[in-house]
């Protein structure tokens, strides 16, 4: 029986050894599921057993005697039990170490000493019956094991109770927590620590050297036997700094020779502090000017301002519940990984009903942000909002809520931001409800009936709240209207077309001229949608509206092209970047815009420079033609010019062409603005089946050709 038990135990020990070795080998891949974590957490409980039992076993081992079988058995079983318990404890410890918060040197030493205990005691157990296991070896093993147990125990205690657990009561000096930059006071957190380190050892209530005390602000201001320490704002006259700057040998030098001296940066800080003047004891570091030397020095050792991540006192909702309540129009998102807080956004006016809030009851604790912007939310819909006690941020812009809805919100204890822009919430509503919203930090009230004066009142009455007012047009900075636009599908027509002008802004008057003169606000035609265009027309239009400056002049060419060729053919090559649609471009009813020097936008412009622009037009049925026109671009700055000459040839076929007309347009005036222009030649009506149009680019003074860009031609 005994033997059986022993065999089982020994086998178990071997198994444990293999298991531990395996865990160690692949430790970095170890993932402990939640259900197993409690086993790990029992490590601090179980570990006491192997300690006691192993120490006992080692005690017996130290005074080992083979003669007494009881003694032999006792030591044997104790050692086996101790080693087994050590193994279990090690496994538990490994599990526990995978949990968050365990890292660093202490853990390292605790872990490896603990593992060592297990392996050493196992080793001793397995070899203690061999011949060579002599008394001295047993003694040495026992001593080593006990020592390692003590060391491991110490590190373990440090892990659990903290590094200084043993020595803590002995620590006389209290080390304060580092203060965040934005909360630090210049005196309390920058200056006082220096004084405490270097001065108050002698200048305190108990010691009072030179009748000077440097422990609090009142006594610092009071000064000592030799008078006041400084005049605030004037470091040059400061007795304090004078003593500091005296040569070390001087009897009056402070701190006295032999004591810890002030460092250069410390002296600089003290100097800068005295310089701050009136707010010596109340100034915050963060209130100092950005490039202030004191601020910059302090920033070096103070904790940087860290927006504290909000801690919530509720636990996360079940993921299934969240998924079940998420719909296409209601998004429920966790703020972050491992954060229990949820943000809810609801969209789609058509789908909205107050139910969408009520249904969220299972998540009432977790919802911290709610976005109902632009939904037709009624006051009644907000009845169920009071259940969301954790709400921090509520957005109700452009909803239908009124004072009653606002009242529902007042029960929310944590509400920090509220947006009611574009609602009917009035001054009186806010005045009545704001005092109830104790945690409120900011509220958006743009586009509500609240006037700027009322907003001012609110600000005065609620200093802790930021009121966001936004932009209100007070008419003092009128803007210029943008240009009227043409809505006609094409500006090229065959017989007649109705002029369609429009403007993006409602209520604008559009006035226009057709004679090339500048439109004005009184005499020019007011556009009413009834203008019929029958000829080539050059329109200049301007937009006017009360409260706005008039627009610039918009110019449009309407081209009449009553005859279209049935096919066209280019005589010469076009520029590589101004290809447009080739021969088809001239009669496709598409006009280009200014700015064609950029090839990407030159879609409708055909261009030539080194060749002529030549087009053959064919008519299936002979057509009677009396004029030919070209629509071209003029942009002097980028070197785009009108044609130098224009010739029109006609006849029954390509072989029988006769010159019908030619024209040399006068050169454009110098320094003009970029514009779109037309040039036209007229001649006696002529019946043709084939028409040849040739436009020759201009040449400059040096005889070089200039760029010619044409987007459309028209025949009448």
């Amino acid at each position: 029986m005994k033997i059986k038990f022993n065999v089982l135990g020994a086998q178990l020990l071997l198994v444990l050894n293999i298991f531990v070795a395996f865990l160690l080998l692949f430790e970095n891949k170890l993932v402990v599921p939640a259900w197993l974590q409690p086993a790990g957490r029992m490590h601090p409980l179980v570990l006491h057993f192997p300690i006691v039992i192993l120490v006992m076993a080692m005690f017996l081992e130290f005074f080992r005697s083979r003669s007494n079988s009881f003694y032999l058995q006792a030591s044997h079983y104790l050692l086996l039990l101790g080693a087994l318990l050590a193994g279990i404890t090690v496994i538990m410890g490994l599990l526990l170490s995978k949990e968050e918060g365990y890292a660093g040197d202490t853990l390292f030493w605790h872990k490896w000493t603990g593992i060592a205990i297990f392996f050493i005691s196992s080793f001793i157990y397995f070899i203690r019956n061999t011949q060579w296991y002599s008394a001295p070896a047993a003694k040495a093993g026992a001593v080593v094991t006990v020592l390692v147990v003590i060391i491991s125990g110490h590190y373990g205690a440090s892990l659990t109770h903290g590094e200084n657990f043993l020595t803590e009561p002995l620590a006389v000096y209290y080390q304060p927590d580092p203060v965040a930059f934005d909360q630090a006071l210049v005196f309390d957190h920058v200056v006082k620590p220096i004084l405490e380190k270097k001065c108050t050892g002698c200048h305190n209530a108990d010691k009072l050297k030179g009748e000077l005390m440097l422990t609090d602000s009142a006594s610092i201001v009071k000064g000592g036997k030799s008078g006041k320490l400084f005049i605030a704002g004037d470091p040059d006259m400061s007795l304090l700094l004078q003593r500091v700057h005296l040569p070390l040998e001087d009897k009056k030098h402070m701190p006295p020779a032999g004591k810890a001296q002030l460092t250069e940066p410390e002296i600089a800080l003290l100097t800068a502090w005295i310089k701050t003047g009136t707010t010596l004891f109340s100034a915050k570091v963060s209130e100092l000017p950005e490039h202030d030397s004191l601020r910059m020095a302090a920033a070096g050792f103070l904790q940087p301002a860290q927006p504290a991540e909000e801690k919530y006192d509720f636990s996360a909702a079940d993921e299934k519940t969240i998924n079940a309540l998420s719909t296409d129009y209601r998004t429920i998102l966790p703020l972050a990984k491992e954060s229990p807080a949820l943000a809810v956004n609801i969209y789609n006016r058509e789908e909205w009903s107050g139910k969408q809030l009520e249904e969220l009851a299972p998540l009432k604790k977790q919802v911290v942000a709610l976005n109902l912007n632009k939904l037709p939310v009624k006051d009644g819909d907000l009845k169920s909002i009071s259940q969301f006690q954790s709400l921090r941020h509520v957005y109700l812009n452009f909803t239908d809520i009124t004072a009653a809805g606002l009242k529902e919100l007042s029960i929310l204890p944590h509400l920090q931001t509220l947006a009611v822009s574009g609602t009917k919430i009035s001054y009186n509503d806010l005045k009545a409800q704001l005092p109830a919203l104790k945690s409120l930090k900011s509220i958006a009230i743009w586009n509500t009936p609240i006037t700027p004066q009322e907003a001012q009142e609110l600000k005065k009455a609620n200093t802790g709240i930021t009121f966001i007012e936004g932009f209100k047009d007070d008419g003092t900075n009128p803007l210029k209207l943008n240009l009227p636009e043409v809505k006609n599908k094409s500006m090229v027509f065959t017989q007649s077309t109705q002029l369609q002008l429009s403007h993006p802004i409602k209520g604008v008057d559009i006035r226009f001229t057709t004679d090339g003169t500048e439109p004005d606000s009184t005499t020019s035609f007011l556009f009413d949608g009834k203008t019929e265009l029958k000829e080539n027309t050059y329109i200049k239009a301007k937009a006017y509206k009360e409260g706005w400056y008039a627009s610039d002049v918009a110019e449009f060419y309407f081209l009449k092209c009553s005859i279209k060729p049935d096919s066209t053919h280019l005589l010469y090559k076009l520029n590589s970047v101004h290809q447009a649609e080739g021969a088809k471009s001239y009669f496709d009813n598409k006009l280009g815009v200014i700015g064609a020097n950029n090839p990407a936008w030159a879609n409708n412009w055909t261009g030539v420079r080194h060749t002529d622009m030549g087009l053959l037009c064919y008519f299936n049925n002979p057509a009677t033609i009396s004029s030919v026109g070209l629509h071209y671009m003029l942009e002097e700055v980028t070197g785009i010019y009108p044609p130098g000459s224009l010739q029109v040839w006609g006849g029954e076929s390509e072989e029988q062409l006769k010159l019908l007309a030619s024209l040399r347009p006068p050169p454009p005036p110098k320094g003009g603005k970029p514009s779109l222009e037309t040039v036209e030649v007229s001649f006696k009506p002529h019946k043709v089946s084939c028409l040849k149009i040739v436009a020759v680019p201009q040449t400059n003074e040096k005889g070089d050709r200039r760029l010619l860009l044409v987007d459309e031609m028209y025949l009448n």
């Binding site: 020994a10 086998q11 993932v31 743009w446 932009f471």
Partner: protein, 485 residues
């Protein structure tokens, strides 16, 4: 005898050893249950912490609006005030300043590099006393909301690589864009709109192209791809039902289609199939949501005055800013605007004035508008281009005209809202505006900071692709703590 028997019992023999060993092997099997990754299962190191769709820590910002000024606006004429540069106009740039900076092909053959100061004046504004040029009067009024970073620098010297670098963290492309990463990391706030949308506009200045690769999802699931909203009747292409198909018919068609897709997914397991199902479903919901978002007719008059009258002209920067606010307000995580035309190699004074006029009022309006809705706290607005421009002129320097070439060593951007420190000017360049002398911010640092504001650790926002883990910040980048409120 009894003692011998006893000792025999205590002694080990082969049989006992082997039987114990077998148990030991069993214990190993037991232990392996605690090691899910032992045999290469799962994605191992680092990945275990990441679950896409949820921020790593509490975010300061929930959404981003990136007003990208495509073509690289000249910092010398907008935000980086350099009186000394003006004084030295016409003088050759000192070699000590120029250093070994490589040049673009456009100025590499230039024989002289005369410095040129800004043609426009600067003034100081707000409590932050930030210098802003007269070209940006509206932006100047909101400097106390802005965090102006004058010390951005990049590695690329030409538009496409620089743009790609800023947006994807790599110059070569094929990586997910910042918006796609955010979509991946944060998930949808509004399931009826895409997470990442793109709006384009252009000024009359010299322009550079933008390509859809800039809003690519790269190797991420294609649901994270940027969706371009264009002007005109069909803001999202192919979203509208064809004639003769009503919503009910569409619903039935989608239900049947998704059944087929589910079957295909079961058979092949390609995640792109599930992405496709999701996209069809979202498109169906977008058919309702998009017209509502695009409708500008209900905007109050004050809003038109705030953004300027162009905000009602589709396709302008102002209209896109207004739209960006509406999309963002509706939970779109990342709205990317591009305004083209900032590439002033020549004719700079004329072109930059026009460009600035295009964007100044609307950019400032966007910040004000978000604020007055209480949304600026959780929306990060970023304004800036892909690199800076040289302190010396490109081409001829005349009395009133000059140009500036590409310059990667420093450029200025600004950010507002989203937990970024308002009312500060960060970083400094030398007197000639050529080198950074204080607090440099690398593109990866900037990206890390943006991710940080959204509650994402740039080192943990990773995706394993082709055997390696990728990040937006590649292998570098530090969060710039000084920029954070």
């Amino acid at each position: 005898m009894e003692k011998e028997i006893l000792e025999h019992g205590f002694t080990w023999n082969r049989r006992r050893f082997l039987s114990a060993m077998s148990l030991g092997v069993g214990s190993v099997a037991l232990g392996s249950l605690l090691m899910p990754d032992l045999f290469g299962r799962g994605n191992s190191v680092g990945d275990e912490a990441f679950k896409p769709g949820i921020p790593h820590f509490a975010p300061r910002a929930k959404r981003v609006i990136y007003l990208f000024q495509n073509g690289a606006p000249s910092q010398q004429e907008l935000f980086d005030y350099k009186p000394k540069l003006r004084e030295m106009t016409g003088q050759e740039i000192p070699p000590s300043v120029r250093g070994n900076q490589r040049l673009t092909g456009m100025t590499a053959n230039q024989s002289a590099f005369p410095l040129v100061g800004s043609f426009v004046d600067f003034k100081q504004y707000g409590n932050s006393r930030a210098w802003v040029s007269d070209l940006m009067p509206y932006t100047a009024k909101i400097v106390d909301e802005l965090c102006i970073v004058r010390s951005m620098y990049t590695e690329a010297i030409n538009h496409d690589p620089a743009l790609t670098f800023l947006q994807t963290g790599s110059q070569q492309g094929n990586r997910p864009s910042m918006g796609a990463w955010l979509s991946y990391g944060l998930g949808n706030e509004n399931k009826n709109l895409p997470n990442f949308t793109v709006l384009l506009s252009r000024g009359i200045g010299n322009g550079q192209g933008v390509y859809s690769k800039l809003w690519s999802n790269g190797f991420l699931d294609s649901v994270h791809q940027g969706v371009q909203f264009s002007k005109g009747e069909d803001p999202v292409l192919y979203l509208r039902d064809p004639d003769g198909m009503d919503r009910k018919a569409r619903r039935e068609m989608l239900d049947n289609l998704s059944e087929l897709n589910e079957m295909a997914y079961k058979e092949m397991g390609d995640p792109e199939i599930t992405a496709k199902i999701q996209q069809y479903e979202m498109a169906y919901r977008m058919q309702m949501a998009v017209p509502e978002v695009m409708d500008l007719s209900k905007e109050p008059d004050d809003i038109v005055k705030l953004y300027g009258p162009d905000c009602l002209v589709p396709g302008t920067f102002a209209a896109n800013c207004l739209l960006a606010r509406k999309l963002s307000e509706n939970g779109v995580r990342f709205v990317q605007l591009y305004h083209q035309g900032w590439d002033q190699h020549g004719n700079l004074p004329f072109e930059i004035a026009k460009q600035a006029k295009d964007v100044d009022q609307a950019s400032a309006a966007l910040v004000i508008d978000l604020k007055q809705r209480g949304l600026l706290d959780e929306t990060l607005v970023i304004w800036g281009g892909e690199f800076g421009r040289t302190s010396y002129t490109q081409g001829r320097l005349t009395q009133d005209n000059y140009g500036r070439d590409h310059h990667p060593r420093c450029f200025t951007i600004w950010m507002a809202g989203g937990g970024i420190k308002p009312g500060i000017v960060y970083g400094e360049t030398d007197e000639l505006g050529y080198n950074i002398i204080k607090d440099p911010v690398h593109v990866h640092d900037f990206q890390a900071t943006v991710l940080n504001q959204l509650g994402l650790d740039h080192e943990k926002l990773i995706f394993k692709h082709l055997g390696r883990r990728y990040r937006l910040t590649d292998v570098s980048g530090k969060v710039v703590k000084d920029l954070i409120a």
